[in-house]
Symmetry: C2
Subunit: 239 residues, 2 copies
DNA sequence: CTAACTTAGTTGCATTCTGCATCTTAATTG
DNA sequence: CAATTAAGATGCAGAATGCAACTAAGTTAG
């Protein structure tokens, strides 16, 4: 404390090095239940414990933080080509036993079909109701991701990304109902999908797998495929 | 490139130091126009240029990134006691001439009355339509903040924070109209405020300053005062 | 072969929500 | 004290929403 004025003025000028990590919450639906992806940690701390795919930011290697998150997801989970959305930043001394750090958290929604290779090579899915045993503040990160996704899901195109490339309206409705946790009126749902118009019927293609009338197949319109939600622009700008 | 395997495995284990800053977008209404706050930069680069209040994160000094942003806002702009909401993280090599960095951006909405002291000591207000001359990627940060606030403003309690502690419904309606950029039907607005019920009339108190019938004074209900918006929980968790 | 069953998808209607015009209230101003 | 102004309430028409009932198109059981 004996040289505080010097310390303060210096502190205002010079950057302190900050331990900066990224973590990814990858969400999917497995047999009707909402799940997130974990990978076993390769290093201490928490070696061997299932954790969110995450790792250090490497400025020399990564164009920006999105690139960091994409690299980590590719290297740790073997997953590529998904669109990541910024979730939030978590920070402080308590979240990592090694000391003060920040984690820039990202999230994405993918159909189970896109995870087959990853699941065969060590990626684990866990239901979102089960947040036990997670290292660091990963339980909190998943909790925030769930809140975000659920609050954005009411009649946005976000949940469509949990469906495969083609799907029927009843299937899509079931996805919304799982995320929102409540039943939706069939007619209202169809009217809303018609009005919002981010999905389109695939002419002449039907799902005839059930013992009943076949259902029209739909797909997400092209302009909604590149990002998770067009109302998300505010969080997509971390350049 | 001659020792890449070593470099890669090391890169996965060890943290690289990252230059980490915070920037604050403080928004207010001045004479009916939407404005953001700037302060002249004290140091190079861009010394003397008006910029968002911002600075380096100091882990030894700051409990977490919210504390960093609060410290910066207090030290650079003399503003305290406002509730900051996370906006987004901006990152990359291009945003700062000194090289690769990240900025965790925060935003807040305050009534002009709360800025009187700050405005007397160097803080500048500029209309949101004018993003010219800003250093770093601050124009982009303000643009994203505007998008975020506007998209959250449709019948949320967010715009109320631009009003002083007490206000009339016509005044509040004018605030919403400024933010949303379009007129709102008076009856619909009042019905919605009644339904959402985040403001309450102050019994027996009226604004009689006009040459017409006095208007009932309202205030934000207590439980909505501590944060900007109750629907924002997802971004309030950076611990 | 056909009736029963199941789910897809539509139609009609009652109820609720929303926008707009009009009316009333309570102040100031000339 | 009439005219003016803006606050605030009322009534109603049209749109949006929720629900029940209906039709459509397949499979399955007898």
């Amino acid at each position: 404390m004996q040289d505080e004025s010097y310390k303060k003025s210096k502190a205002e000028m010079l950057p302190d090095p900050v331990v900066c990590t990224v973590d990814v919450v990858l969400l999917t639906l497995r047999e009707g239940s909402f799940c997130y992806a974990l990978v076993p940690r390769e290093q201490e701390p928490f070696q061997g414990v299932a954790a969110l795919p995450g790792g250090f930011v490497h400025p020399a290697e990564d164009k920006d933080l999105r690139a960091s998150a994409e690299r980590v997801l590719r290297d740790k989970a073997g997953i590529q080509g998904v669109y990541l959305e910024q979730l939030a930043v978590f920070s402080g001394v308590a979240r990592d036993p090694r000391g003060w750090s920040i984690s820039v958290a990202w999230y994405t929604l993918v159909p189970l079909e896109a995870l087959q290779a990853a699941l065969a090579t060590g990626v684990i899915l866990r239901e979102v109701a089960d947040l036990g045993g997670l290292p660091f503040d990963h339980a909190e990160i998943v909790r925030v991701a769930l809140e975000r996704v659920r609050s954005k899901s009411t009649y946005s195109s976000l949940p469509v990304h949990l469906c495969p490339a083609t799907f029927t309206l009843p299937q899509l409705q079931a996805v919304y109902e799982t995320l929102l946790g409540e039943p939706i009126n069939k007619v209202s749902f169809r009217r809303k999908m018609e009005e919002l118009a981010f999905v389109e019927p695939i002419k002449g293609e039907f799902d005839s797998s059930g013992a009943h009338r076949p259902a029209q197949l739909y797909r997400l319109k092209a302009k909604y495929r590149s990002r998770l939600s067009l109302t998300d622009r505010g969080m997509n700008s971390g350049g």
